[in-house]
């Protein structure tokens, strides 16, 4: 469950997120909005690359934005230690919270094989090199359907395969929230279908909640039971996907965009 309370992000004069409050509790949540709406910025707040100007985000009940007092005499040292871990965590430590994400541009290292790319994530998700780790890596790659590309170099993977590999990287360890930033960009219809199948299966695969950003409304419809719409940093609508997409203001702000695009094409 993602709880967002009064989040505001300001870069100079731009306000990519403006006093956003929403609770997302469905297993697969969609996020749509026109270009520059602040979608990626919201993801960056989750993963700690952007510090919000104000507000709070809690994931599964744990705040990841709030700064707690480190030295509270009422707490035992162990709780203090845990508290220090879970609040205002350094971005790379958020992985241990189960936060996983992909990027709008895929981040597969060209000179490593697919296996090594995924292994590189597992290296930091587990305490030691263990058979379980190897198992987990293979399982994640198998899940996205890339086993046949196991030992191929990153540079030799197709766009679709790179996107899927990114998802495999996000499934390593024990993820609690998998955030996907436009995984369907540049995919054909058939590839999109496979992708939708992969995304739909993630909650069953590892029990994580999925947060899916995409411009492809069909993909959102196929995957998400709950969808929120952002427009210039403001929450335009949130609710069951079909209902949200039928709202006139959503059609105007977002699908209108597409209508224009279609006309242009």
């Amino acid at each position: 469950m993602i709880e967002i309370k009064n989040i505001t992000v300001q870069f100079g004069g731009v306000k990519p997120l403006d006093n956003l409050t929403v609770t997302l509790d469905q297993p697969i949540v969609g996020l749509i909005g026109p270009n520059g709406a602040g979608k990626t910025t919201l993801l960056n707040v989750f993963s700690g690359f952007v510090t919000p100007t104000s507000g709070e985000v809690a994931i599964n009940g744990k705040s990841i934005t709030q700064r707690e007092r480190r030295f509270d005499l009422n707490l035992t040292p162990m709780t203090q230690f845990r508290a220090s871990l879970f609040t205002r965590m350094k971005p790379h430590k958020r992985v241990s919270l189960g936060l996983r994400r992909t990027f709008q541009t895929d981040q597969i290292a060209d000179d490593l094989t697919l296996l090594e790319n995924v292994q590189a994530v597992a290296d930091h998700g587990f305490a030691k090199k263990s058979p379980a780790m190897q198992e987990d890596v293979k399982r994640a790659i198998d899940y996205v359907g890339l086993t046949r590309r196991l030992h191929r170099k990153g540079s030799d993977l197709s766009t679709e395969e790179r996107h899927l590999a990114e998802i495999a990287k996000a499934l390593i360890g024990k993820p609690s929230l998998v955030m996907l930033d436009e995984p369907g960009a540049g995919m054909s219809e058939a590839e999109s279908e496979h992708l939708a199948q992969v995304i739909r299966g993630i909650p069953d695969y590892c029990g994580a909640q999925v947060f899916l950003i995409d411009h492809d409304v069909d993909l959102i419809v196929a995957c998400c039971s709950q969808t929120m719409v952002l427009d210039f940093g403001k929450l335009l609508a949130v609710g069951p996907t079909r209902k949200v997409l039928e709202l006139p203001e959503v059609r105007k702000a977002y699908l209108g965009d597409f209508g224009e695009l279609e006309r242009a094409a």
Binding site: F49, A109, D123, H124, H151
Partner: protein
């Protein structure tokens, strides 16, 4: 069915384990350690010993540049720090040589880490400038306090009287023994660095190289892994400095000029930063080439001209360095040709080794090695003559190409007229033969003490024998070639 076939495609062969990846390096170094001191002249044993130390330092530059894209111009200064500390401890306390070297490495590692701290937030030009300033600061400091040579106090500098040299380890008193001792260190240090590259750290560095944000999102501590590289680089450079101090029993402050740091970086780019052989090439270029020139009575500083040229060429040609280009070349050769070539090369080289040893012109190894180099040049670097022409400018190179093309055409026409099979590459080949012969003969003249005429005969002899054997042995090797081709039908690139 097609899918089934694809699955078995040879492209998808699992990567080697880290151990298997460093094996070739260890074997080559071990072989060199055993045989090289037997082959080369006495003057060269000490030169190649300092090549070893420089290779170790170059490996740290390559680590930072190749793995993280960070330009550190201070690695040579860190070697100086290691050497200074090592000398200080060995003069001050009655400790074994190794302890001194290790202390030098450790403290240089700490300095490397300190240097790395600001570097964690910088990159590119700013980092290069910062490290350059550190190297310059080191030069100034060491100019003032100099290296310890047995005197009292912190600086350990003798004001009046004779300098004291530190002793070599008891196992490695002679020059040849000390060279082998250095090779053991080199295997340990570079083996460790290679191991790091092939395992968890290497993968984390690859992610950082791709994008720091993505690495962070994957749980990699970007700061931690950069700091780790700086620490490891500092330790290895420091060890190299201590070992260099042991070579002559002392260090000269004049040897740690800033220009050396810059030169080392440039030569790592020339040699290739992505392969252990690149560091070896850099070490050879920075130490062996000037020594070679000096050995022939030419000013060793002339090498700098060559270095500038070589840096330019390697920057233009994709920054893979000499080694990267050689590797690219071999990628597109088939396995059968490699096996065949290796057998024929070694047979020819062995033959010349025996003949020259029998004639008492040089050692077996000297002739053997020379013949191998001649054969390697023949296939891998056919265009050296043209490359060198480029030194005089592109227009001249182009003009020369035109003249050559015209003459070749005329020659081919002439050949056809008198009933020979026309060969339009005759002139180019002739030039390369001429160049290879004179260049290699000139080099071995110094290194292996082969008289120039005999050197020339050796190079040309090996090259002709290769051509003759190709024609003569073709029917004999055909079954072998076919058998291997069946098993490995693709170029080497497919097998990693």
């Amino acid at each position: 069915m097609a899918e089934e076939k694809k699955k078995k495609s040879n492209i998808d062969i699992p990567p080697k384990s880290p151990w298997r990846r460093i094996m070739p390096m260890v074997i080559v170094f071990a072989l060199v350690a055993v045989v090289l001191p037997e082959w080369v002249s006495h003057y060269w044993v000490n030169s190649i010993s300092s090549v070893v130390c420089l290779t170790m330092t170059a490996a740290t530059v390559a680590l930072l540049y190749g793995q993280l894209g960070m330009v550190s111009l201070a690695q040579f200064a860190l070697a100086g720090v290691g050497g200074w500390v090592c000398l200080r401890f060995l003069h001050g306390f009655d400790i074994p040589f190794e302890i001194g070297v290790l202390l030098g490495g450790l403290i240089a590692g700490v300095f490397g880490l300190l240097l790395g701290l600001p570097a964690l937030r910088m990159r590119g030009l700013y980092l290069a400038l910062l490290t350059l300033l550190v190297a310059a600061a080191f030069q100034v400091i060491v100019n003032v306090i100099s290296f310890p040579d047995g005197g009292p106090g912190f600086t350990g500098k003798v004001e009046t009287g004779a300098r004291v040299l530190i002793g070599r380890p008891w196992l490695a008193q002679s020059d040849a023994a000390y060279f082998r001792y250095l090779m053991v260190w080199l295997i340990l240090v570079m083996g460790f660095l290679e191991w790091q590259r092939a395992s968890k750290s290497g993968r984390a560095w690859a992610l950082i190289r791709k994008s720091e944000a993505a690495a962070t999102a994957a749980g990699v501590s970007v700061v931690g892994y950069k700091a780790r590289a700086f620490f490891m680089g500092g330790v290895a450079a420091g060890l190299a400095g201590g070992l260099l101090a042991g070579l002559n029993g002392q260090l000269e402050y004049s040897g740690f000029h800033v220009s050396q740091s810059i030169l080392l970086f440039a030569l790592v780019v020339v040699g290739g930063a992505y392969n252990w052989l690149g560091a070896v090439a850099a070490g050879l270029l920075i130490r062996a080439l000037p020594a070679l020139l000096n050995g022939h009575g030419v000013d060793g500083n002339l090498a700098n001209v060559f270095f500038g040229f070589a840096t330019l060429v390697s920057l233009i040609q994709g920054r893979k360095g000499i080694v990267g280009q050689l590797a690219d070349f071999f990628k597109f050769v088939r396995m059968s040709r490699i096996v065949e070539g290796t057998i024929i090369w070694f047979a020819i080289a062995g033959l010349f080794g025996l003949v020259y040893m029998y004639l008492d012109k040089t050692s077996f190894g000297g002739a053997f090695f020379t013949a191998l180099v001649a054969l390697l040049f023949r296939v891998a670097i056919p265009g050296v003559a043209w490359l060198l022409l480029g030194f005089f400018g592109k227009p001249i190179q182009d003009r020369a190409e035109d003249v050559e093309a015209y003459l070749s055409l005329r020659l081919a026409q002439l050949m056809a007229k008198i009933g020979l099979i026309p060969d339009h590459r005759l002139i180019k080949r002739g030039l390369n033969w001429w160049f290879n012969g004179f260049f290699i003969a000139w080099v071995v003249w110094g290194v292996f003490e082969v008289e120039f005429a005999y050197g020339l005969a050796l190079v040309w002899g090996a090259m002709s024998l290769k051509i003759i054997s190709e024609k003569l042995l073709y029917p004999a090797v055909l079954p072998l070639r076919n058998a291997i081709d069946k098993k490995f039908p693709k170029p080497l690139a497919a097998y990693r």
